[in-house]
């Protein structure tokens, strides 16, 4: 049994919050640079130029890339041979978020009550924390500050086996078309297929966070669907920020899971071009 101090987790989370909000992951930066070369629309090219300048300013001056520093979403793989000592895991993560968002001059976007008062909690907590127990004696922490604008552009449909792959493709393409410029294209599109109602939403989240960006589904048939969907979406003409153009999405990722014989749930989760995430293994 390996012991990991909860205080250490807090310190790591503090740093993650700041780093993730100031600097894009290299694979996302490279995908944007590559996509820029293929954009034909003048106004689309201008958006790409702004995105590039923004990255430099944010990194050099330690300003958040986007004013929306997101819901603090954590995906934890906790090795079953780890013993967390000196405190509560959730509390140490939330304390890290508080410190990181305060000291990093990041925007606090969480409100206590979703409907009535909607008063701000003042420190961006509580974080949304997903945990999985895995073999080993390490903890893997993936942190994603998830913007509200693109998270709103999500959907879940309890489709049936009869809908088939064409039904799934139509659902995704129609949804992206209606989302238009709302989720800050060029986007990353995560699609979950299978499992149950709650499982499929999480699959879509995992899909949107797949690294490196553009990695295909291991099954050739789904990899083919990822490519076809990306082509169809980029042919919609939505373009950067919805101003019209050839680049609407950087990647489509599909995650699948076995499913009940009566079911075929499908979920869509999108990320904006400021697709922030950071991973640490302790």
């Amino acid at each position: 049994m390996r012991e990991i101090d909860a205080h250490k987790i807090k310190e790591i989370v503090t740093q993650l919050c700041m780093d993730a909000n100031y600097c894009l992951p290299p694979d996302v930066g490279n995908a944007l640079k590559n996509a820029q070369k293929h954009e034909k629309s003048m106004v689309g090219k201008t958006v790409f130029a702004e995105i590039s300048t923004n990255q430099h300013i944010a990194q050099e001056e330690k300003l958040p890339l986007c004013q929306d520093c997101g819901t603090s979403v954590f995906l934890l793989d906790i090795g079953q041979d780890v013993h967390i000592t000196g405190g509560d895991l959730s509390e140490s993560i939330n304390e890290g978020v508080k410190k990181g968002y305060r000291e990093g001059y990041l925007r606090k976007s969480m409100v206590y009550d979703p409907v009535f008062t909607r008063a701000n909690t003042g420190d961006n907590t509580p974080a949304v924390i997903h945990t999985e127990i895995v073999p080993g004696n390490k903890i893997k922490i993936v942190f994603c500050p998830k913007g509200g604008g693109c998270e709103n552009m999500s959907a879940l449909k309890m489709m049936t086996p009869a809908d088939g792959i064409e039904g799934i493709k139509n659902f995704v393409v129609d949804f992206v078309k209606n989302a238009s410029g709302n989720p800050c294209p060029p986007t990353i599109i995560g699609v979950g297929i299978g499992g149950t109602f709650e499982k499929v939403a999480f699959l879509a989240k995992k899909a949107v966070l797949r690294t490196p960006l553009g990695t295909s589904h291991p099954d050739k048939r789904y990899a083919q669907v990822e490519r076809e969907l990306l082509d169809e979406i980029n042919n919609l003409g939505i373009g950067p920020m919805g101003f019209g153009g050839k680049i609407t999405a950087l990647a489509v990722h599909i995650e699948t899971h076995p499913v009940h014989l009566a079911m075929m749930p499908v979920a869509i989760n999108m990320n904006c071009h400021v697709a922030r995430q950071r991973t640490v293994i302790i």
Binding site: V43, L65, G149, N235, G244
Partner: protein
């Protein structure tokens, strides 16, 4: 594209009548901020017959909740939020004389009709480039609803703040025109 249009706030209907969808505009002067909860409160105030925190006539309302300012900075990163969430409340503000709004993403038909009827404009600022956009903001102060924190109403002084005309007073829509020009063959 081409020439950039310089506009000084407050805007007149002569200003907005010059604007066409896709024009690049540089805004200077005072603009105000307000987003989700601010609009809820504006509507409640109007329904009660009260006065809004500022006179909206000729003004431009920016949908934003900025990040906190680092020491020595007037404001933190400051880019647009998605506009459709404000659509329910927007026509009544144009009716009261608001001349422009700044956000991102498309507006509904009621907002587009109001922009046409009251000779306004909807400006789109690029989303997700908030560190860049905050460089065009010279000062910021909260003037109402301080309890709303990031969402409070702020008065910003901007200098050449870059936006693109999303909806003009002739019924044009940048999102529809973009798809017409660049939409491909499949679907």
């Amino acid at each position: 594209m081409g020439e950039k249009i310089h506009l000084q706030t407050p805007l007149s209907n002569e200003d907005t009548k010059r604007l066409k969808v896709g024009d690049s505009v540089l805004l200077s002067g005072i603009i105000y901020t307000g987003r989700d909860m601010v609009h809820r409160r504006f509507m409640e105030t109007i329904q009660k017959g009260g006065d809004l925190p500022f006179d909206v006539k000729g003004q431009v309302l920016f949908y934003v909740g900025p990040a906190p300012a680092r020491p020595g900075y007037p404001i933190g990163s400051c880019g647009p939020t998605t506009s459709y969430r404000m659509d329910k409340f927007t026509p009544m503000l144009y009716e009261k004389g608001l001349r422009g709004t700044i956000g991102k993403g498309k507006r509904n038909q009621a907002v587009r009709d109001a922009i046409k009827r009251y000779q306004g404009a909807y400006f789109v600022a690029t989303g997700g480039v908030a560190a860049l956009l905050c460089k065009s903001i010279k000062s910021a102060k909260i003037i109402a609803y301080e309890d709303l924190a990031a969402e409070a109403v702020r008065e910003l002084v901007v200098d050449n703040f870059p936006v693109t005309v999303g909806n003009d007073c002739y019924g044009g829509d940048i999102f529809e025109e973009g798809i017409k020009r660049f939409g491909g063959t499949s679907k």
